[in-house]
Each structure stands twice: as structure tokens, then as C-alpha cells.
């Protein structure tokens, strides 16, 4: 049963990402549940979205230590949620840094050596410069789709499957941008 955790900072586009991954598994004939975050956390807080797929899914929330893949749109958020990954799972994260307010005010420091810290978990990790790649694709807002591209092989499915998902989920006027973003991410394999 695939469990995909999508984490980041409120406003980074986790809703679109979760809907893409949800549509992907639904197209595979699986039952899907997606749990989203709305409201206050969207104002720049730490946000988490859960996608679960299988023959039969009860809880929409992924238990700690049971995520197959964690997609993180920000490096510190990868560290915050890493314990949700299961043994042998994977963390795909954007190397983008967004300082939380306690770091900005000097009350805390942005953690150093996050890739080293992630090695404490028995998971594969892949760092992606999603911000630069999204700019290359044409808009920073497509960083979420770059990251999905980078994780697409881990998530499974063929190029055609993902092309179909993009068509189903992404609004028509942004489809070309997101196709480029996805392809640039997928090249990071």
C-alpha cells in the first residue's frame, strides 16, 4: 500500500502535488485517500499532506514510520518529517531554504548538515535543486511539479501515466510549463 507524505511551507503548492499523486494511484485502479491542510497553516507554516493508496484504505493519515516516499519542498521540512519514512523508504527534497520566523528573529538557527542528519534514517535520499529547475521551466511556482518529476520513478508508472495525470490535474493554461517542469525533474534520476 503506497503511502506518500508531501511536506513543505504553506503556499508552496502541496495541494496540486497531492492531487497529482492521488490521481496517479487512482488511475492505477487503487482506492485513494488524500488528507490536505487548509486554513491557518497555509500562512507560511509547516504543512503536511498525506496520500494513501491500496485495495482498501481506512485512515487518511499516514502513521509515523510508514511513508514509502516523502516529498519535501524545503530542506528543513525534510528533516522535520523524516521520521515518517519507513525503513528502506525514500526522501526526495528540494534544496531550497526558507527560514522560519524563529530563525529570522535569531531565536533559533537553521540546522546545518541536513543531508548528514538524514542518513540517521535508513532511507534513500535525493536532493533536487527544484527552485533553479523551476526557473528553467519558466516559473518558480512549478517547483512542486519538478519534485514530482524527480520522484516519479520511485512512485512508479510510465511516462504516459504521468503525462495523463498532468493533463487531468493541471489547468490547461499551465500545462506546458508543468510538462517542462516535470521533465526537468525526471531527468534528475
Amino acid at each position: 500500500m503506497p503511502n506518500i507524505l508531501i511536506v513543505g511551507v504553506g503556499g508552496q503548492g502541496s495541494l496540486l502535488a497531492s492531487r497529482m499523486i492521488g490521481a496517479f494511484y487512482k488511475n492505477q485502479g487503487l482506492t485513494v485517500k488524500v488528507s490536505e491542510v487548509h486554513g491557518m497553516s497555509q500562512r507560511g507554516g509547516s504543512v503536511v499532506t498525506y496520500v494513501r493508496a491500496g485495495e482498501d484504505v481506512a485512515s487518511p493519515i499516514i502513521p509515523v514510520g510508514e511513508a514509502d516516499v516523502i516529498l519535501s519542498f524545503e530542506e528543513l521540512e525534510a528533516l522535520r518529517w523524516a521520521h515518517y519514512a519507513k525503513e528502506g523508504g525514500a526522501i526526495v527534497y528540494s534544496t531550497q531554504h526558507i527560514s522560519p520566523m524563529p530563525v529570522i528573529t535569531g531565536a533559533a538557527e537553521y540546522p546545518s548538515e541536513i543531508p548528514e542528519k538524514l542518513t540517521k534514517y535508513n532511507v534513500r535520499q535525493r536532493a533536487v535543486d527544484a527552485l533553479s529547475l523551476s526557473l528553467e521551466a519558466g516559473n518558480v511556482k512549478a517547483a512542486n511539479v519538478v519534485l514530482i518529476g524527480a520522484a516519479s520513478k520511485l512512485l512508479g508508472g510510465s511516462d504516459e501515466d504521468w503525462a495523463k495525470v498532468l493533463e487531468e490535474v493541471v489547468p490547461a493554461k499551465f500545462i506546458d510549463l508543468n510538462r517542462r517542469a516535470f521533465a526537468l525533474g525526471a531527468e534528475q534520476e
Binding site: H38, R43, S46, A58, S59, A82, M101, A108
Partner: protein, 578 residues
């Protein structure tokens, strides 16, 4: 019919639509907001935003009494506002079916408290349904109208953050063609004065007895007998958590009608299992019911009344499975913040600088309490900023009013701030009220309100004039200022704080996230000029941080609002690339 992935809230809306509902009125509140937004997309029914939940429910009851099927959705604290009409609507009953959806927020993802709405069903003696996934959201919402008409009662539909904001598959149906019933004058049913209400109270008690009988037999309450030793009584999202934790290793009494509760059905279930647990988030309502009827259950001696549960927690408490390991390394917290370009930032900077006591309210601007702005002193409920300030100023010595203000958003002012302002005028406190008009209902995700000039469907509407409202309420001193003009904000504030009359300052600038607010070219820091004094950090903008001893601006999120450049004593913050 087709199957579709739907948010719980979208599925509730679909159920209301399919039930042939005619009239919908709500006030936004996370996690309930999307229900009414989705209902707005169905042209066959009338849907609207009301200024508050009380107005919404009263309008819905009017529609019901007139013969239409009516619906209102709100968050748990919105139900407090709407409680007055609901408790007496329990007596009048309905003509067309009336359904009230209420979404609780266990874990307080976006709320000021964690109250359990099931208490309201018991207190008002109204039936309450609780779905456990999106399909049930649709089915229960639809059935609630039938139940309402069959038993002559408003019906509650209880949701929670996880049910409202999770997507799962829903089988769609057609909209039923339900004609609006004829309106019939019926004084003894609809005029709740003592002589009539005494008769209706008898009806309410009789109805409750009938609903209790229904609770024993309704398919909404079902036993899933897995022949297991462990039995659990559950509803809503806790049912999903328990299923995840036990699978077929437990038997379930899954309650869909959570008020009134069955007795015989629980007794029958209790006989099938060795140990019976009640797993209910928040209060011990099912548990108390069981114990009152002499049924042995284990509940809150294991589980907390605080926060959300999880499958891990259930396995831990009941099976003794250790909780999974937490993070190996600490990560600094990332609380929500005012967005880049937020119009509230400039005002809170000034309020902090002047060290004023700030009576706060509910909205994005509650975030003004967070470091480094830390300029909100109180937050209680919608509208409490203005009334609270009045009490503060009259309780404290007269000098206090010269260093205290209330802050309230435009939508919150329309919701329940206007009466508080009238009270300030009537009872003559020298209060200074700031109305933060960002021209939208912000925190819930941009809903229209009486001041935006647009309806729920984004169609033109009369635009309420806040200045005129304040003057009409008797406030002689009304001024308007742009919060990004911090010097002007400070000047007006000092002037109004030092007048003995009540005054209102409308702090007006549209929300930076509104589509018509075009971002300006981003700012950047000229590193030659920057002296690293950190004054620009005092505004708490998420774009600005320190790098190698000097300030730096993240141009990918900067909206070019120019507030930071006004903080810099050296003119080091410049528009465009450095």
C-alpha cells in the same frame, strides 16, 4: 453514476445538492468553508455568505418555515454564535427540511479552542449525524433532510478537520426534484412565546424518545462483528483510525447517529466482546452514556480529551505497542506568519513600537501576536476586540485608554464588531478602534463579505461602507489610513488616542494575495550600504533574513510592498536587483 474523488466538504455539498435543497446560508470558518463554496457552484439552489452564523441559521430557518429545504454550515465556534436560534428551532421544528453542518477542529489546526459539538446535540435535543468518509458525507447530508422532515426537527451533521479535508471516492447521484412546500401560518408551531413553547417542549421530549428508538434500529449505526475479543465503539475519523489499528482483530460498533445514542444496540454489542472500548476524540460523551446505562467500557482512562488521535496512539493505548520513534534531530518550529506584503504588518510594527495594549480578534491579524511583532494582547472570539477594549478602558484608570486599541478585520467587524462599537458610543468609553480593512475574509481563504461588493458567486452586490456605518453608530471621529504609510499611522494613532471621544481608524489596504493586487518589482539589499543593524527584521517579514552579517531578501517571495525599505536607516534596501 460516476465516481469522483471528493473532499469531505465537497461531498457534503453534493449531498445537500442531491437532496434538492433550496436555500443555503453560511459564514466561513475552517474547516467548514469549502462546503458553501462548493454549493455556490450549483445553479439550482440559492447559496450565500451571511455576515455571521446566527444570521445564516435564522435565514435558513426562515427558508425552512416557508417550505424550502435549507442548510447552513459553520465551524464549531460558529455554532456558539448560532446557538440562540438553534435551541428554539428545536421547538418550532421545520417545514422544509433543515440541516446544520458543524465542523470540529480537533488538534486546533486553525481555531481558538477545541470544543466538542456533540454537547450541542444533547443540549438542544436535536439529532446529530457523523460521517466517517466522503461517501458518508454525501449520503448522510442527503439523508439528514429526510430525517429532518420525518421527525419535524433541524438535524446536525457533525464533521471534523480530517473528515472535511480528506478526499476519497464518492458515487454521485442525481438531484431530487423537491418542490417548495406551501407556506401555512401556524402560530402555535412557529411563535415561541411561553404558552406556545410550553406545548412545543412536550413535543420536543416526545420527539427525542422517538429518535432514541430510531437509534436502536437505524442502519446508520452498525455492528461489524469480526468475532474478536476487543470491541470498540467509534464514530467519524476515530472509526478510520481504529480500523487502521486493528483491522479484523476487533469488532466495531460504528455510530453514524451520534445523538441520541442507542442503549439496546450497545448492550447487544457489549455481549459479543470480552473488552469494550470507547474511542472518541475530545469529550467522553459515548462513554458517559454507556456508564449511565451500566455498560462497562474503557475510554478516557486510556485516552486524552485533548488533541487528535492516531492509529499509532490506539495501538499503543490498547495493545501496548510502543509509539513509533520521533525525530532524531530537533528542527526549529515553523509557525504560520503574516504573508510577504501583508497589509497588517506595517500597522503591527507601529503598535509594537508604541507599546500599546491591543485587544485582538479572530483573523489573519491574530498572527500579529507572534514574534517579532508581538503586538496583540488578547484574542477571545469574533468581535471581542471592540467589546473587550471597552471593558478594559472602563476598568482601568483613565490613562489606560490613551495607550490601548482594538484591532478587528473588515469581515469580523461585519460579523459581530458593529454591536460592540455601538456599545462604546452608548456607554461612552474613550476607546480607539482600528478596523483592518483588507477587503476580503482572509484567513479562511478569501471569501467575499458585505464590504467587498461581491456575492458568494462573485456577482456584484451593494458594498457596505465602513466609514458610514461607524458614523451611523455614533462615532464622530472616523479616519482612514494606509498601513504601509507607517509615519502617518503613528501620527493618527497618537492623535486619536489622546482624544476623550470614541474614535475609529480604518486601516485600509487590500490583502496581498488578492488577484487584483499586482506584485511590484521585488526589493533587494545593497550590501555596500547595509550595516547589519537588523532594523528591517523588526517587521517580521518572511522574505528578509541575515546572511554573513548583512540582510538579504528572498526575491522569489517578495511582493515589493516597500515596508522594509522604510525601516532602513541607510537606504540600503532598493527596488530591483542589487
Amino acid at each position: 453514476m460516476a465516481k469522483k474523488m471528493m473532499l469531505g466538504n465537497a461531498a457534503v455539498a453534493r449531498g445537500v445538492y442531491e437532496a434538492g435543497c433550496h436555500f443555503v446560508s453560511s459564514y466561513p470558518g475552517t474547516p467548514s468553508t469549502e462546503i458553501t463554496e462548493c454549493l455556490a457552484t450549483y445553479e439550482e439552489l440559492h447559496a450565500e455568505w451571511a455576515p455571521n452564523e446566527k444570521v445564516a441559521v435564522e435565514s435558513a430557518m426562515g427558508a425552512s418555515i416557508a417550505g424550502g429545504r435549507a442548510f447552513s454550515a459553520m465551524k464549531h465556534v460558529g455554532l456558539n454564535v448560532a446557538a440562540d436560534p438553534i435551541f428554539t428551532a428545536a421547538y418550532t421544528g421545520v417545514n422544509g427540511g433543515a440541516v446544520i453542518a458543524v465542523a470540529d477542529d480537533m488538534g486546533m489546526h486553525s481555531s481558538q479552542n477545541e470544543q466538542d459539538s456533540r454537547h450541542y446535540a444533547r443540549a438542544s435535543k436535536l439529532p446529530m449525524l457523523e460521517p466517517a468518509d466522503s461517501q458518508e458525507c454525501k449520503d448522510f447530508a442527503k439523508y439528514a433532510f429526510t430525517l429532518s422532515e420525518e421527525y419535524d426537527t433541524p438535524v446536525f451533521l457533525r464533521l471534523s478537520t480530517r473528515i472535511s479535508h480528506s478526499q476519497s471516492e464518492v458515487e454521485l447521484g442525481e438531484r431530487e426534484n423537491i418542490p417548495v412546500k406551501p407556506y401555512e401560518k401556524n402560530i402555535s408551531k412557529y411563535v415561541m412565546m411561553p404558552a406556545k413553547a410550553k406545548v412545543r417542549h412536550v413535543f420536543v421530549e416526545e420527539r427525542e424518545l422517538k429518535l432514541r428508538e430510531l437509534a436502536e434500529t437505524t442502519p446508520l449505526n452498525r455492528i461489524e462483528d469480526n468475532g474478536a475479543k476487543i470491541g470498540v465503539i467509534v464514530s467519524g475519523i476515530a472509526y478510520q483510525y481504529a480500523k487502521e489499528a486493528f483491522g479484523k482483530n476487533a469488532s466495531y460498533l460504528k455510530l453514524g447517529l451520534v445523538y441520541p445514542l442507542p442503549v439496546k444496540l450497545i448492550e447487544e454489542f457489549a455481549k459479543k466482546v470480552e473488552t469494550l472500548y470507547v474511542i472518541e476524540e475530545l469529550d467522553d460523551i459515548f462513554e458517559t452514556h454507556c456508564k449511565k446505562h451500566g455498560i462497562n467500557v474503557i475510554g478516557k482512562e486510556l485516552f486524552s480529551k485533548i488533541g487528535e488521535y492516531s492509529p499509532e496512539l490506539i495501538r499503543n493505548k490498547i495493545l501496548g505497542v510502543p509509539m513509533p520513534q520521533g525525530p532524531q534531530d530537533a528542527a526549529p518550529v515553523r509557525p504560520p506568519v503574516l504573508c510577504p506584503g501583508c497589509p497588517h504588518r506595517g500597522l503591527f510594527y507601529v503598535l509594537n513600537k508604541l507599546k500599546l495594549a491591543v485587544s485582538g480578534d479572530i483573523g489573519c491579524y491574530t498572527l500579529g501576536a507572534q514574534p517579532p511583532l508581538e503586538s496583540v494582547d488578547t484574542t477571545l472570539c469574533m468581535g471581542a476586540s471592540i467589546s473587550g477594549l471597552h471593558g478594559m478602558n472602563l476598568a482601568q484608570d483613565p490613562e489606560f485608554a490613551k495607550k490601548s486599541v482594538a484591532v478587528i478585520g473588515d469581515s469580523t467587524f461585519f460579523h459581530s464588531g458593529m454591536t460592540g462599537l455601538l456599545n462604546i458610543v452608548y456607554n461612552q468609553s474613550p476607546s480607539t478602534v482600528l478596523i483592518l480593512d483588507n477587503s476580503i475574509t482572509g484567513m479562511t481563504g478569501h471569501q467575499q463579505n458585505p464590504g467587498t461588493g461581491l456575492t458568494l458567486q462573485n456577482k456584484p452586490a451593494p458594498k457596505a461602507n465602513i466609514e458610514a456605518i461607524c458614523r451611523a453608530l455614533g462615532v464622530a471621529r472616523v479616519s482612514v489610513v494606509d498601513p504601509n504609510e507607517v509615519k502617518e499611522v503613528e501620527r493618527i494613532l497618537k492623535e486619536e488616542l489622546n482624544t476623550p471621544e470614541p474614535s475609529v481608524i480604518i486601516v485600509r489596504r487590500p490583502c496581498a494575495l488578492l488577484k487584483y493586487v499586482k506584485p511590484q518589482p521585488a526589493f533587494s539589499v545593497n550590501r555596500d550600504k547595509c550595516i547589519g543593524c537588523k532594523l528591517c527584521l523588526k517587521i517580521g517579514c518572511p522574505c528578509i533574513s541575515m546572511k554573513d552579517g548583512k540582510a538579504t531578501i528572498d526575491s522569489s517571495i517578495c511582493t515589493g510592498c516597500d515596508l522594509c525599505s522604510k525601516m532602513c536607516p541607510k537606504g540600503a534596501i532598493e527596488r530591483g536587483d542589487a
